[in-house]
């Protein structure tokens, strides 16, 4: 159309503003991180937030955009985490790498390499699972992925080299502190931009994915699979591709988790437990943010993690009456209530499929006149 040049100019302006905002955020971050007090508090939060944002957005690809409920997302994160941890441990045992004394470039290389390896292994395993699982009807898939998650957990727990206790004990905990990838808090602070940049790149990729032909195809499959097939879309291919990409990013999140944690246990990657590290919490996050809204997932990830952080550490909780405190000792109870109430009143989440867009914010009137976007 004739407005094409106008549109691309607007794209450039939006991008410039976005980069400028990013620089400001990073500047504020670097100033606050130079303060020792803030650094101790902020650094672990940032690492965890990046992991949750990656988990939430990647699960939204399958749950929100593809419309397939999968309940074993944490299983893929587990694969990524264990692969990253074990591969870095192998490097260290071979005498090639010591996290404490490694030069910066080598450390970044190992962190990136091992996380990517974890992501690729998670992707391959999800591909092998997806081919049979995605042939099934929607609600069976939920159970099958839940089962897969349990199998992954079960198998990892039974791997002799992942635990040290092996088959007999049935629980694995690779103690990686000081002798693997699990870097200490000083290094975590030093390399805090690593997870931030990685997350930005990954989320950007997911945005690109969902706004391209791939996004159109999977949204069409979500709306009506038969009609999508009848529009010439190879539904099976796009389903498996999206499932694999989703697992890939979950694996990458697992890599980040392995870097930021001193030891791994399979209990972290299960369907439901008393902490927030479980598949259900990620499902709640996606539902709350809106199924089909990546920005919604990011906001929900930040909001829910901070809420949990406050419940765990906030002074205001300690000041509350005893019976409320005892409820707050079970955060999943609160999230379950929130989940049920949100879905009763807004079945597709608070933001639905609405994406927060800087571009629309800036050029609201003229965009609507051109009519390039829905709504």
């Amino acid at each position: 159309m004739t407005d094409l040049r106008k549109k691309s100019l607007r794209g450039v302006i939006t991008n410039v503003i976005m980069v400028a905002l990013l620089i400001i955020v990073i500047y504020i971050l670097s100033v606050s991180l130079s303060d020792n007090n803030y650094r101790l508090k902020l650094v672990p939060i940032i690492w965890h937030l990046c992991i949750f944002i990656l988990l939430g957005t990647s699960l939204n690809l399958t749950m929100g955009f593809l419309g397939q409920l999968t309940l074993g997302h944490m299983g893929f994160m587990g694969i990524g985490a264990y692969t990253a941890a074990l591969s870095s441990l192998a490097l260290e045992r071979a005498g090639l790498f010591i996290a404490k004394t490694a030069p910066p470039l080598q450390l970044i290389g190992v962190m990136l390499g091992c996380s990517l390896l974890g992501a690729i292994v998670a992707g391959i395993i999800s591909l092998l699972m997806g081919i049979p699982a995605l042939r099934m009807r929607g609600d069976y898939l939920a159970i099958v992925t839940l089962g897969f998650g349990l199998i992954i957990e079960n198998v990892i727990a039974n791997l002799p080299f992942a635990g040290g206790n092996g088959l007999a004990e049935g629980t694995a905990s690779a103690n990686l502190y000081q002798n693997g990838l699990g870097i200490n808090s000083r290094l975590q602070a030093q390399y805090v931009y690593f997870p931030i940049l990685l997350t930005i790149i990954c989320v950007a990729f997911m945005f690109m994915y969902t706004t391209s032909k791939y996004g159109r195809a999977i949204k069409a499959i979500r709306e009506d699979e038969i009609a999508a097939n009848a529009s010439g879309i190879n539904a099976t291919y796009y389903k498996i591709l999206t499932f694999t990409i989703s697992a890939f990013f979950a694996g990458l999140a697992g890599g980040l988790y392995a870097i930021s944690t001193s030891s791994l246990t399979t209990g972290t990657f299960t369907f439901a437990n008393s902490s927030i590290w479980n598949s259900t919490f990620i499902v709640v996050m996606v539902v709350l943010g809106g199924m089909g809204s990546l920005t919604g997932s990011i906001i929900a990830a930040i909001g829910m993690y901070m809420l949990n952080y406050e419940i765990k550490n906030g002074a205001w909780v300690a000041a509350m009456p005893q019976f409320l405190q005892s409820i707050f000792a079970f955060p999943m109870l609160i999230y379950a209530f929130v989940l049920t109430i949100v879905i009763m009143f807004k079945p597709f989440g608070l933001m639905g499929t609405y994406e927060f867009s800087l571009r629309r914010l800036l050029f609201r009137k003229s965009e609507r006149a051109i009519g390039g976007e829905a709504k």
């Binding site: 699982a133 499902v283 379950a336 049920t340």
Partner: protein
């Protein structure tokens, strides 16, 4: 050989519990196409009711197993509340995925609420009383305990009773009609919502009976007891063909046998994973389960 037969009896005992719980899943799924994730938690509710009621009823001089009637009432009440407060409102608004997420939410609420209630708490509680006659017996040369015998017999009675109820009574016919076609049932004068509520009552009641059998064998209750039990019972329902009552029975028995034999002869820590492997293999060959017919979507 006798050891193998012993394992088969154990398998049938576990399978009876799975089958009873699977019936609850399959009936609810058959009628509203919802995987009632909270069904596992109904078992937990039943278990705790038994835990609290057994001493009370025994104080009145009644046998311990009579507490199952209290459990049935409480479970049915919880089931009806879940349907009325959560499932029905969401069914009107959302799609099948949102209904499923609601069920997960209800399940988590029940489980975590139980943990947050001070006199229940997250720690397991032991049931010290005998629910059935204690001791072991020799059955055709196979040594087993009375609990297994009672469990299998009760399960068989309940299943026959349920089959008769579904096929011979008016309510049973209404349930079958609603599961075939909701709109047409309404036109035939069937109160669909009431039929759904009755289904929840029966399903939750069966979960309470399952809880009795579980408690008789393991003599302990805990807030997470329903999760894995419920999940495997659901697998049993899918394996047999979801929505089909004979399918749930067959699936339950199969899962019980697989679990008992894998535990005895391969590895106890792999039993859970293998149950899912079997499910996936069966669904690949028969997507609608062993007894299910493959019905495509209407175009």
């Amino acid at each position: 050989m006798t050891e193998f037969l012993q394992q088969v009896i154990i398998g049938l005992r576990i399978g009876s519990v799975y089958a009873l719980i699977a019936l609850g899943y399959t009936m609810v799924y058959g009628i509203i196409r919802l995987i009632n994730f909270a069904h596992g938690e109904f078992i937990m509710v039943g278990g705790y009711t038994l835990f609290f009621m057994i001493p009370v009823l025994m104080g009145f001089g009644l046998p311990a197993w009579t507490s199952v009637f209290a459990a049935i009432i409480i479970c049915a009440a919880v089931g009806v509340l879940a349907e009325l407060l959560a499932y029905r409102p969401v069914r009107k608004k959302g799609n099948r995925m949102t209904a499923l997420i609601t069920a997960i939410g209800v399940s988590l609420i029940l489980q975590n609420l139980a943990q947050a209630i001070p006199f229940i708490g997250p720690n397991p509680k032991a049931i010290t009383q005998d629910i059935f006659q204690s001791g072991r017996i020799d059955l055709f040369g196979v040594n087993t305990n009375w609990t297994s015998i009672f469990t299998i017999i009760i399960a068989a009675f309940v299943m026959v009773g349920l089959q008769l109820f579904i096929h011979k009574t008016k309510i049973g016919r209404a349930m079958r009609a609603v599961s075939e076609n909701k709109a047409a049932s309404t036109l035939m004068g069937i109160n669909v919502n009431r039929t759904i509520v009755i289904t929840f009552i029966i399903g939750a009641g069966l979960a309470a009976v399952g809880a009795l059998m579980y408690c008789a064998q393991y003599r302990a209750v805990m807030t997470t007891m329903g999760s894995m039990l419920g999940l495997k019972a659901f697998v049993a329902a899918v394996l047999g063909g979801i929505g089909l009552i004979p399918g749930a029975m067959l699936g339950g028995m199969l899962i019980g046998l697989i679990e008992a034999l894998v535990t005895a002869y391969i590895s106890s820590s792999l039993a859970n994973a293998l149950v899912f492997v079997v499910l996936i293999l069966v669904l690949l060959v028969k997507p609608a389960g062993i007894m299910g017919r493959n019905v495509g979507e209407k175009v």
